[in-house]
Amino acid sequence: MESFLFYAFAALVVISALAMILSRNLVHSALYMAAAFLGMAFVYLLLRADYIAVVQILVYVGAISILFVFGIMLTKRDRMDGSNGFNRYGIIAGLVGLALFALLARAVTVAGASRAAPPADVPQAPAGGSAVAISNLFLGQLALPLEASALLLLAALAGAVVIGKGREKSKC
């Protein structure tokens, strides 16, 4: 059952991802991307990572995808067909990507052969899902990176505002 679900979700993710890069319409690409993100959320559920799955849906599907769509709308007001073509690197990029994948897949299978089997279906986290364990980490040993990432978000916010602010006379 689990295998079947995995293959179904994996197929959803991979097909959406492929469609995303192959589509020649930017809006379609964005929708395929959202679909791929959604599929990933299901895969996370299979991995018993419920917290991540929720984050994935909230942030990726909910926020980032919308941000993308806004971006598209603000930069493309005319027709969308052919708005998302390939550049001159299409073929080489495909080959390098394939080679990289082959290498990684081979490495995974070789390494995995020697790895211990996955633990039985024992939930990692106590009641309440993985959220409790993760938040304990956040407030415990990961407190410093957490604070730093708060600064990071602030900096990014200030930066985005600075960049996006008004239009100055361009002498481009």
Partner: protein
């Protein structure tokens, strides 16, 4: 039987598809989408290792949460940049960006 390898191969596939998207698409927004796909591959790696690694604490998942947060920040800045670019040049094609070269 479903094992770690399945997830890792899926992650590698996502990473590589994302890479192709980031390198081979003409539109800056599509490049950014490719990068997001790559980051999803990373997250899947982390979560899968966490699940199969017998750890006391879900460090991988915590890392994934950080990556999601940072990715959101990155997207915000990058999109703001792309908007400025659009205002200046009227399009968002990255392979037209060759005022700086050699």
């Amino acid at each position: 039987m479903l094992g770690l390898n399945h997830y890792l191969v899926l992650a590698a596939l996502l990473f590589c598809i994302g890479f192709i998207g980031a390198v081979a698409k003409r539109n800056a927004i599509a490049v950014l989408m490719g990068v997001e796909l790559m980051l999803n591959g990373v997250n899947l790696n982390l979560v899968a290792f966490d699940r199969f690694g017998n750890h006391a604490e879900p460090l991988g998942q915590a890392f994934a949460v950080f990556i999601v947060a940072v990715a959101a920040a990155e997207v915000a800045v990058a999109l703001a940049m792309i908007l400025t670019l659009y205002r200046k040049r009227g399009n968002t094609n990255v392979d037209d960006l060759e005022g700086l070269k050699w």
